[in-house]
Amino acid sequence: MGRLARRLAAALAGLLGGIFAGGAARAATLPEDRAEALIHAYSGGGVTANGPAVLVRKSIADKVSLTGSLYVDAVSNASIDVVTTASPYKERRNDYGLALDYAVRDSLITLAVGASREPDYRTRSLSLDIAQETFGGMTTVNVGFTRAADDVGKTGDPAFSDRATHWQYRVGVTQILTPKWLASVNLEAISDDGFLGNTYRVARVFGAAVPERVPRTRSSRAMKLRAVGDLGSRDALRAEYRYFWDNWDIKAHTAEVGYSRYLGESFLADGFIRYYKQKAALFYSDNATTETTYVSRNRQLSDFDNLTIGGKLTFDWKKQPGQYDLKANAGLELYNLKYNNFTDVRTGNLYSLRAAVLQLYLTATY
């Protein structure tokens, strides 16, 4: 029996040794030093949102990399919800981020803090992500956690004050399949607690406007599968699918296919088509005909689909091998949302909207 135990132990040691030897040949590398400057604009359904965003990343002593980012959203809102129940408004959101990447052996550890401020809404977040390379660098395992806390206010009602807390747990695996193909799977669970509605939005019950009533907890899960492959003619194809479900009884499917291709020596073109479809939340109603504990007429929780097509062109502007690489990028996305149970009360017809998203940005690596 002692000999058997030794043999089992030797077999187990061999197995574990093989796995770890496969992963020990490489070391995780820090993300490259990089700067991005973006101008973004959204226009559709009576809403415009635009602003600048910048990101700078710099490594220190090859072990640590610091990233700072600022993102500004100036919103002018005259959406159907606003024009039918309130007055159009303008506001600005500033989003600040600071992240620290630390490379140790085969792991890249990222600690990030963020803060977002609007006149009536504040968010603070803390994230920890770990990416571990294994199996000779063919497999990367990611695990991450975020906790965010929001302070919710209401313009014109200084007495209103509430909070919301969010926990996000994520895990993912990226696998090299062949010299030309990569695949990944991501899972994320999110739990929310606190004020999860909108202080201004109203629901309709028996045709009358009443303040919406939304549960104070929510728990959701999402799973995404993705594959990207080199097609061999300086071009690549990617496909992805995400399934989402939560305890508000929302179920959603997202499918996306994209194609990228180098054009000549200086251009890279990307194109994609994305289809999103979701089922309504249990307490969503366009016009409720029974009294229920919870009721909402939030379009985001209704039954709808969204077809998006988009394209991007990247231009190699300036390059000094070994010193810097500057690229100019322009992207355009066109959204087409069709609501299956949300009536435009101005016309009596089902609501739909088209929107355009523009991104103009420079990226530099150095």
Partner: protein
């Protein structure tokens, strides 16, 4: 009981002993194409964050995007 336990353990041990972990079948020098920017799942952080934000405030689904971040940060 020992009569069947021993052969089972022996065969399990034999299987494990002959079962080295599979070798990485794509060698580092074969990964040149995978390192091309065209193969990156999220090439530009700010553009990806903005696209995710646009989706987050219009659609109920969220998460598992592979875009790192601290949530939507919006109402």
């Amino acid at each position: 009981m020992r009569r069947w336990l021993m052969p089972c353990l022996l065969s399990a041990a034999a299987t494990l002993a002959g079962c080295a972990a599979p070798e990485p079948w794509v060698k580092p020098y074969e990964r040149e194409r995978l390192a091309d920017p065209i193969m990156k799942l999220n090439r530009d952080a700010l553009a990806a964050k903005h696209s995710e934000h646009v989706h987050d405030i219009r659609e109920a689904a969220r998460g598992a995007t592979g875009v790192q971040g601290g949530g939507c940060g919006c109402k």
